[in-house]
Amino acid sequence: MNSLCKLLLQRLALGLLSLFAVSVIIFLAVGMLPGDVAQAMLGQAATPETVAAFRAQLGLDLPPLTRFGHWAWQLLHGDLGLSLANQRPIAELIGARLGNTFTLALLAALVSVPAALLLGMLAALYRNSWFDRLLNTSALSAVSFPEFFVAYILILVFAVKLNWLPSISNLAPGASFAEVLERSLLPVLTLSLVVIAQMMRMTRAALINLLASPYIEMARLKGISQARIIFHHALPNALAPIINVVALNLAYLVVGVVVVEVVFVYPGLGQLLVDSVAKRDIPVVQACSLIFAATYILLNTTADVLSIASNPRLMHPKG
């Protein structure tokens, strides 16, 4: 147990270092893009005087190091700062959208993770049957299509043709949970179709590997039931790779869903990030990137810790 705590602390410290590195890289990268927030906001209408006034107002005329230092200092005091583009506090700007993004990711995870594990187990049990082949083919097809294509097909069928579900996720303030659920269903379905394949195939592969090993053979010879073999003997040993793949896909559900957000007009963090990059709104880009990076780091750390916890040999190393 001690070693686990040590590992956790180590990982978190490394995570903080990564976050710092990410913020430096993002700051430099956005700085290298042509133009700045003043020009981007004013667009075709940018006269030199207006641009200069804009820059002075936002403090963009200060040297980059000063600006970065100021931002980092504020951040350490828990202040994300103000958006350069519209002067709103970034915490407020991100707040609702972060909630939306996590809701969407959570709903998609609730659908896709159990489905993927179950289908993976069934595919492993009935491997090389027509059922297994059908499952593999459809999962691979779903993951091979671009997300927006899957999304449009779902819209065509469920919104335009059948008129069962709304084609856009109009999340009005004060919407009930049932409404949120109904309006998020199509994006959730799209995301699930995209992420199920990898998790399912990893489950299948890990299980098939184990089901061929001598101790499973022994269990079968002893006459233990199929379910007990899978859940009690095979699955615990297959957990480590499955957990890793699940963590990766969960991270993707949080950080990689911009396209789905655009197609379904879902007010999540991805759209905010894209808009902010287009407008060179560095503090907002920084804040979003930090959140995304932190999500990745936390999920990966969790996956590592769980993999170790699920493996007695790693939990109790000899000497």
């Binding site: 893009l33 042509p34 133009g35 004013l42 940018a46 002067q87 109009n170 379904f264």
Partner: protein, 533 residues
Amino acid sequence: MSDNNNKITQAMHDSGLPRRDFLKYSATAAAIAGAFSLGLPLHGWAEEATPKAGGVLRMGLAGGSTTDSRDPGSWSDTFTFVGFSAVYNTLSEISVDGTAIPELAERWESSPDARIWTFTLRQGVTFHNGKTLDAGDVVASIQHHLGDKSTSAAKTVLGDVAKVQAQGNDAVVFVLHSGNADFAYVVADYHLVIMPAKDGGADWQAGVGTGGYRLKGFEPGVRMDLERSPDYWKAGRAHFASAELLAIADGAARVNALVTGQVDVINKVDLKTVALLKRNPNLVIEETKGAQHYTFPMLTDSQQFQDNNIRLALKHAINRETLLASVLYGYGQIGNDHPIQPGSRFINSALEQRGYDPDKARFYLRQAGVDSLKVRLQASDAAYTGAVDASVLFKEQARQAGIDIDVVREPADGFFSNVWMKQPFTTSFWYSSLTADRMFSIGYAKGAAWNETHWDNARFNQLLNAARGEMNAPLRQEMYNEMQALCRDEGGAIVPLFASSVAARSKRVAHGGLTAPYGELDGLRLIERWWQA
């Protein structure tokens, strides 16, 4: 329709538009056609001419961004224009026939030289917070856009204004640097909304106006919620009980939302799908033939284009009709190399329309002392959707005249800061301008910040100044006529197209039959002008 399709196919053939792209578009169109033919139940919605009170107006609009704010100086696209036009009023309003009519100002008069303008305010108008409108509010609201530190988008619109001051409680006086006969149109600009004064400035943060609707919620880039103000001063307006604006950036998502009945109105309909939308009996396409136009600016002080013969050669080497059919699918009008749109009250109708004439183009090349010409056109879809396609079509058309145009695709990001007005030959666009004076002043006058061709024509500049303060309408029109001819024959911009704004509405909502000629969605005022059917 099939005839039209053939024309388009032919045009793409002629132009050598990548076949793959054409196929891609056709495939998309077919997929969407499939979607629509699946159809909704067919109801015969009868349009009613008399306004009906109540109901919700739901709009899915392009042009909303997470970087939008409540500050009127920052409004830069349709979403904020339309939403805040319902929350606020301006001193004057542009009516459906395109003239300035009183709004918060009851009447106005000017000095004979059009330099001093006095606006008398309407009595008994209150803000949503209960405050009564007075001259101090107007002065603070206008001054919000003025001054050296202003970053307002309306700063140049008010470039003429030397000072603005209250005259008693009920009148406001504008003193201009030089006369401007159109000043009543200037104050109708959608940025120049009247906000309550607070601590010596205008209170834009509160979102409190005198308009027909109160601001209930505004989440930039996502949505805006409005509810009818019970004591709106304007009679016969603001029929809906509430309005909901959704920012929908994706064109396909907008169409889907309209077709599935989640919104009642959308703007910027993808022109490739208009023909298909038209088949849906529950929808109506709303085309506004406006002043928005597309240009190919040539820098008149660049080595390549300083000879007017070269510019004239290029102006004759472009086939406007083909561009209209293939880039705008017919939703627009052809241009005559000046920025005044056909149908405007300022148009010079005696000016001959320039056509596609490769022989004449060759003639001008010879006049310039060359047999053939090779130019580089730096194009980007930042200017307008289809700008690169238009450039490629132009390249093929100009080849007939011995002109070799090398089309270079520039990234949309930073196009207007780094390429436009810096490179000799580019693509560009202009939004609606209410008056000829404003259009000429910002885009063609010597030294103007957005004089995109660096044009400096002494006669033109002299006429521009003279016409601005001229209160005699026929005399003024004569000057504008000559200025249009000068742009056409000596200017640096090729103006091939005026683009319509194409919106679509469900038959659940109706309007009086005529919509404003300037600005999309009934001059941006659909929320207070339309009603539920």
